[in-house]
Amino acid sequence: MPPLIALEQVHKRYLMDGVAVHALRGIDLAVERGELLAIMGPSGSGKSTLMHILGCLDLPDSGRYRLDGVDVTHMDPDALAHTRNRTIGFVFQSFNLLARTSALENVETPLIYAGVGRDERRERARAMLERMGLGDRMGHLPSQLSGGQQQRVALARALVTRPPLLLADEPTGNLDSRTSAEILALLDELNHAEGVTVVLITHEEEVAQRARRRLTLRDGRLDRPEGPP
């Protein structure tokens, strides 16, 4: 079986006011199924850029990205949308919940695009929110939820399609330490108990300690891997 994620010499440049920013300078990376990988690095080192490429939200300028053995760099927008829907779950630092939309409807949204029927959709969204400990908050709007609760809604939404890959870009960046710990425990449990592959970007050393594998991004390049391969 090929690795779930396989990057070869991935480059990404941004052009800002005529100045090119070389955000990724040749990334080689393989992530096996069931891994929990932590990526660290200073601000501006290209972590989010890498995450967007891994999540098929953006395409590399050069290099190859194979997800589950399939080269995504030549996919059309619809196929990429399909991949994001079926293969990937996202958790962002800023939650990115749909505003003025209840927790339940937020969690249902990816299932809508997966073509799941109304009743099943509702059932699965409910079950996932209950698992995240939000059984009594389903009708709440994001603005009526605390940061930790919002991130748990986001997590429920990311997982409701049962994707094999969960990408979390500084998921605890906007949370206090206690709720951070809860979220991280949830990610840990998902990885251990359900075998979901997790790629986690974080600033915090202690968070990274829990990962079995850690990488550091510096100036668009990955340092030598630390910890067990």
Partner: protein
């Protein structure tokens, strides 16, 4: 499937912004409403003109006695005495003529009991009612036998009947016309004013021969109404009647006509045409407001797409395809215009009815205008919704997601 998902999403998005949705739809509501109301006014005018023409006997030619020049003195219209019943009979033989009606007219004072009323008596043959398409309200018309006998009988117009008899039925009663006792055989149906505002019901109809001999003391006639099979036949017959009458009246090439021919079919055609143009004019002016309503929709949808860029990014990250986004926004625009269209129909029909009720305007709500205005509103929705919807669907996921 796209519909099943985009439908509720679009509805919900509109619901979240009720006030804005309502205001946006207002443009379409007013547009559709005014198209329907304006066309109703135009169609009302059209119907009124058609009724009036009908009551005058459309598709008809009218021959009137003309002027004569004798020793340089020209007498007024209708003063020649050369037009005769025989002329009318000759015209009736021409192909394309459906009916002819020779007439004379006398101004009279009519009396019944203590009431009297100044009116006119039209002397005519039974064909007159056919040419005018004029039914009786009660009683019977006079017949050829009455005409042959110059019988003292008559049929009353509604106005005359009302003025002389009030609410009592005049049928069978005897009225006095210029000292002549005439039995009332029937009453004509109400016809109202003609296109020139003359009350057509203010007249008495009597046998031609009786009016000629007993009231006017003449043997000629004053006019011949000719019913033709259509506007084309009327145009052709106009020339033929002219030739025939000149020949019968033995006019030399250098003499002018001693009669005049009026082509009412032509008049009817022109009036009907101008009423149609009027309707379309009103309709198109109103359509402009519908167009403006559409631009309002586009404006709001563009604002909405910009405002919701982040939402679009999130949806794309969760797996929405371009067409999912396209349909969501397009359906929003379509809903706005369809809801606006439906409310506009209510507004248009309502204001047309109110206008017909409270003003002088005759209105006729044209079903085609409702259909047209509603489909136009739909088209406006698609046309002006498509651009913003395409714009939304073409956003790159990562850029939409990062939009502040």
């Amino acid at each position: 499937m796209i519909w099943a998902t985009a439908f509720p999403l679009a509805l919900r998005a509109l619901w979240r912004n009720k006030t804005r949705a309502m205001l946006t739809a207002l443009g379409v509501i007013i547009g559709v409403g005014s198209v329907i109301a304006m066309v109703a006014v135009g169609a009302g005018a059209q119907a009124r003109i058609a009724q009036q023409l009908e009551s005058m006997g459309s598709h008809s030619l009218m021959v009137r006695a003309g002027t004569i020049t004798r020793g340089g003195v020209r007498t007024g219209a209708g003063t020649t005495t050369s037009l005769t019943v025989a002329d009318a009979e000759a015209i009736a033989e021409l192909p394309g003529v459906i009916a002819v009606s020779p007439t004379v007219r006398a101004s009279v004072q009519a009396r019944y009991g203590g009431s009297n009323w100044g009116t006119v008596v039209d002397g005519a043959t039974p064909g007159f009612l056919e040419v005018r398409a004029w039914p009786l309200a009660e009683g019977d018309p006079f017949t050829e036998r009455h005409v042959a006998a110059a019988a003292h009988v008559c049929v009353l117009g509604q106005t005359v009947a009302r003025e002389l008899f009030g609410l009592v039925s005049p049928v069978g009663e005897v009225i006095i016309i210029r000292g002549l006792a005439c039995r009332v055989l029937g009453v004509l149906a109400a016809k109202g004013a003609n296109a020139w505002g003359v009350d057509q019901d203010d007249s008495i109809l009597a046998p031609l021969s009786m009016v000629q001999r007993k009231l006017l003391g003449i043997t000629h006639i004053q006019a011949i109404e000719i019913q033709t099979s259509g506007a084309q036949a009327a145009a052709r017959l106009e020339a033929e009647v002219k030739r025939l009458l000149r020949e019968r009246h033995r006019l030399q090439p250098d003499q002018e006509d001693d009669f005049r021919i009026h082509n009412r079919a032509e008049l009817a055609e022109t009036s009907a045409e101008s009423a149609r143009v009027f309707t379309w004019l009103l309709g198109s002016i109103a359509s402009v407001s519908l167009l403006v309503g559409g631009i309002g929709i586009m404006n709001i949808m563009l604002v909405s797409v910009t405002e919701r860029t982040r939402e679009i990014g999130i949806r794309m990250a969760l797996g929405a395809r371009r067409r999912d986004i396209l349909w969501q926004f397009l359906l929003e625009a379509l809903f706005l215009s369809a809801a606006g269209g439906l409310l506009g129909i209510l507004l248009g029909v309502g204001s047309a009815l109110a206008l017909g009720h409270f003003s002088q305007f005759q209105v006729a709500i044209a079903p085609w205008s409702i259909l047209l205005a509603f489909s136009f509103a739909g088209l406006v929705g698609v046309f002006f919704g498509l651009h913003p919807a395409r714009k939304a669907s073409r956003l790159r996921p990562i850029e939409a997601l990062r939009y502040e």
